[in-house]
């Protein structure tokens, strides 16, 4: 039965090539845009190296000082983290990371622009960097303020060409560092681990960062997932009771432990950094996707309705010979799913091509926009939803056609 539906669907699609092309164009293009969106979200927020243990990590990413007169929004400072985020009960590891900034790096005569990030030993344990050479620096290096650096693959290529870099020295920011490790490039949209060169925080020339409460540091905290709730509550409590250094200007802190997705929604929707509201962000993204799908769906419904009306005499014959409405609806849905499947396959193919083009163009530095299984399943879901969505109304219209009217060719 199903096989004959498929065969019929195939024949019908070939009979009206223009309609088929218009539908396929719509389906594949819509899927292309939606899949690209899913790939991008996956690229930014899902667990990928070096953040492969995302479910075990929380971060204190943003911090704001609030007063009656105004607020200062930004990131935590070293002094704040040292005082409130260092000894959280239940945390297995804590790492402090300074946000990256652009510098010029030199090795002999060669020069390269690079993003420099200062961090500590725990950073390399919490995150899962793929080492190509040597070892990352350690907590001991951080304590002793040793001038050591980890660089990424691309920086090695720019500064040393294709040879090994460990043991050689680079000049960054007027300081000399010895390269101890080389890691695989981290995509720029992985904002917190991303950099080209990583060095210990303690190598900073001035100690003034140690007295800042709102500055440019974030904390990464590793803990088993079941401890996260207690950790968040503890951090919320500490932030609520902490008093900023200049109480005349600012009286309270705002912030909390987040996953990267939660932090993004905190930035977007939490008016004063007070709450993360990840549900709102998810809802907005879903609404946007649905809104975007509305026009293609209406378009497809229109095409399908036209196609059915054109086939009304065929449907009339089938109804007159006893085919039930359910059978006809089923047949049309199968037809639609076949169309969506073909369109979906074409859309996926297009997506692969576009992703490859984006990667090669270098528009997003170090991006690896592969179509992984998760994204593929998302696309498959889109396809099925699309097929059903665009098939329901025409199927319902068709089932209402009276055999007599249908045979006469009017609706």
């Amino acid at each position: 039965m199903f096989a004959s539906y498929l065969e019929l669907a195939w024949k019908v699609l070939w009979r009206r090539k223009f309609f088929t092309f218009a539908s396929l164009f719509g389906v594949s293009f819509t899927l292309l845009v939606l899949t690209l969106g899913a790939v991008l979200l996956d690229h930014v927020f899902a667990a990928h190296p070096p953040e492969s243990r995302l479910e075990r990590t929380l971060g204190l990413y943003g911090l704001a000082m609030v007063g009656e007169e105004g607020m200062r929004t930004g990131w935590a400072g070293w002094a704040f983290l040292d005082r409130y985020a260092r000894d959280l009960p239940g945390a297995e590891r804590v790492s402090f990371i300074q946000l990256q900034r652009g510098v010029a790096a030199y090795a002999g005569e060669r020069q390269a622009r690079a993003m420099l990030k200062r961090t500590d030993g725990a950073f390399w344990q919490i995150l899962d960097f793929e080492l190509l050479e040597g070892e990352p620096f350690t907590e001991e290096d951080q304590r002793q303020a040793r001038p050591v650096a980890v660089i990424n693959e691309s920086t090695r290529k720019r500064l040393f060409g294709d040879v090994a870099a460990v043991g050689r020295s680079i000049e960054v920011d007027g300081q000399r560092f010895r390269v101890v490790g080389v890691v695989r490039d981290v995509p720029v949209l992985r904002f917190f681990p991303y950099a080209d060169i990583w060095v210990p925080i303690s190598t900073t020339r001035s100690d003034s960062y140690k007295s800042e409460y709102v500055a440019d540091f974030v904390a990464l905290i590793e803990a088993p997932p079941e401890a996260h709730e207690a950790l968040r509550a503890e951090m919320d409590h500490r932030i609520a009771t902490a008093v900023p250094p200049d109480p005349q200007l600012f009286q309270n802190y705002q912030g909390g432990l987040d996953t990267p997705f939660e932090f993004f929604s905190r930035m977007t929707f939490g008016r004063h950094h007070d709450r993360a509201r990840p549900g709102v962000l998810a809802a907005v993204l879903t609404a946007l996707a649905l809104l975007f799908m509305a026009l293609p769906a209406i378009n497809l419904v229109n095409l399908n309705v036209s196609r059915i009306l054109e086939r009304s005499s065929e449907i009339g014959v089938r109804r007159a010979f006893g085919a039930s409405r359910a059978t006809l609806v089923g047949q049309l849905l199968v037809e639609n799913l076949v169309l969506s499947a073909i369109g979906g396959a074409a859309g996926l193919l297009l997506t692969v091509v576009v992703l490859r083009a984006v990667e090669l163009s270098g528009a997003i530095p170090y991006a690896q926009l592969g179509l992984n299984v998760r994204v593929f399943l998302w696309s498959a879901l889109f396809t099925v939803v699309f097929g059903l969505l665009s098939g329901l109304y025409p199927a319902w219209r068709m089932a209402r056609l009276q055999p007599v009217d249908a045979l006469r060719g009017s609706s």
Binding site: G174, D246, L295, N299
Partner: protein, 394 residues
């Protein structure tokens, strides 16, 4: 004729409902893209208020905590740094600054006068800044040594702020409230900190004087370079300035590079929107073509009757297209009414009246154009059938 066609359209309202829905949605999409594009194009043509070419920016990381005043040692270092920079080969002028154009960060706050308050972007800059950045003073004067003795600190405002805050009155000499009292001494052109694609916003320059009482360290040094200076000179600048302030870190880059980054960020959504919008239009066009084709084919008998009764091919073709335009007009009434609420309730934000009207016009044009394009072919097909054939049509 139109009224007659309206009756025809109305009698088929149920079968056209979906087409109308599609046209309405399409209209909204085109409006969004057109408004965004027009808004950007208008801004692009506006004066920028400064010249970015031949300007280099030295980022200074003084590591001075923001909550404390600068010590005598830091002040001496800053003064020495500014002097050394101005004395560099190929540097024509140098000035300290707390915010420079094309940066992602900004400083803003209220400027008030006479009970009126305007949200203002602020730049704290040294005396040579106007020379380095090519800022044109249109009235009054720029900062100078004569401000050293002023009891009320001077302020230079851009045209937009002058208009928003003072209306018709002469801003020069007025004392405004902005973190304390400040006297307006000059007006400059519409300085736009965020670059070519941004809308003009009220902007005020405060004078940065490296002397006791300076609460915030400058974050940049801007240098006006002799035209034709190559990038290799960047290292010379760093090598000469670095030793002046050994505990701070410096970083130099041409402003053109900051501009490129900023423009790329600003252009990306525009290009993306245009591409997606274009493909959506193509898709809708194909869909409409299919639907209209089928609709007209079904009406072959009716149209044949008109032909048999003496209507020319052109008249029938015109009927089909005009009917389609009527359907499109009806379809666009609802979204048009919705869109008109935007200016009524001042929900537009930075979108100006001209841009709004232009975007509405452009979307009407695009949608009507699409309908004519999609309707002509089916209309031609319909008129190709001979009347006698058409009347027998089943």
């Amino acid at each position: 004729m139109i009224r007659h066609l309206l009756v025809l359209v109305w009698s088929r309202k149920r079968s056209s409902a979906l087409v109308m829905l599609e046209i309405a949605a399409c209209f909204l999409v085109v409006f969004a893209v057109a408004a965004f594009a027009l808004h950007s194009a208008t801004n692009w043509r506006r004066p920028l208020g400064f010249a970015w070419d031949h300007v280099w920016v030295v980022e200074i990381d003084t590591s001075v905590t923001r909550s404390e005043e600068l010590g005598a040692q830091d002040l001496a270092a800053l003064r020495e740094l500014e002097r050394a920079a101005a004395a560099l080969p190929r540097v024509e002028a140098a000035a300290v600054a707390h915010i420079v154009p094309y940066e992602m960060s900004s400083d803003n706050g209220d400027t008030s006068w006479n009970g009126r308050s305007v949200d203002t972007l602020v730049g704290e800059v040294g005396d040579a800044y106007a020379e380095v950045m090519g800022v044109q003073v249109v009235a009054g004067r720029w900062f100078g040594p004569e401000d050293d003795a002023a009891t009320v600190p001077p302020l230079v405002v851009n045209r937009r702020l002058a208009r928003d805050l003072f209306g018709d009155q002469d801003p020069l000499g007025q004392v405004v409230e902005r973190n304390g009292e400040r006297r307006v001494v000059g007006i400059v052109d519409d300085f736009r900190q965020f670059g070519e694609l941004s809308a003009p916003r009220p902007f005020a320059f405060e004078r940065m004087r490296i002397a006791a009482g300076l609460r915030r360290a400058p974050r940049q040094l801007v240098l006006r370079m002799t035209p034709g200076t190559s990038a290799a000179h960047e290292r010379v600048v760093l090598a000469r300035l670095g030793p002046v302030v050994p505990t701070w870190s410096l970083e130099v880059q041409p402003m053109s590079r900051m501009r490129d980054t900023r423009l790329r960020f600003a252009m990306a959504p525009l290009v993306l929107g245009a591409v997606v919008g274009g493909f959506l239009l193509l898709m809708v066009g194909l869909g409409l073509l299919g639907v209209l084709w089928q609709n007209v084919t079904r009406r072959t008998r009716e149209l044949g009757l008109r032909r048999a009764a003496g209507a020319s091919r052109a008249a029938v073709r015109r009927q089909v297209v005009v009917e389609l335009l009527l359907v499109a007009s009806l379809a666009m009434v609802v979204p048009l009414v919705l869109l008109l609420q935007l200016p009524l309730f001042e929900l537009l934000g930075t979108l100006e009246g001209g841009t709004f009207a232009g975007a509405i016009g452009a979307s009407l044009l695009v949608v009507y154009g699409l309908c004519v394009l999609c309707g002509l072919y089916p209309a031609t097909i319909a008129t190709r059938v001979e009347p006698a054939e058409a009347l027998r049509w089943e």
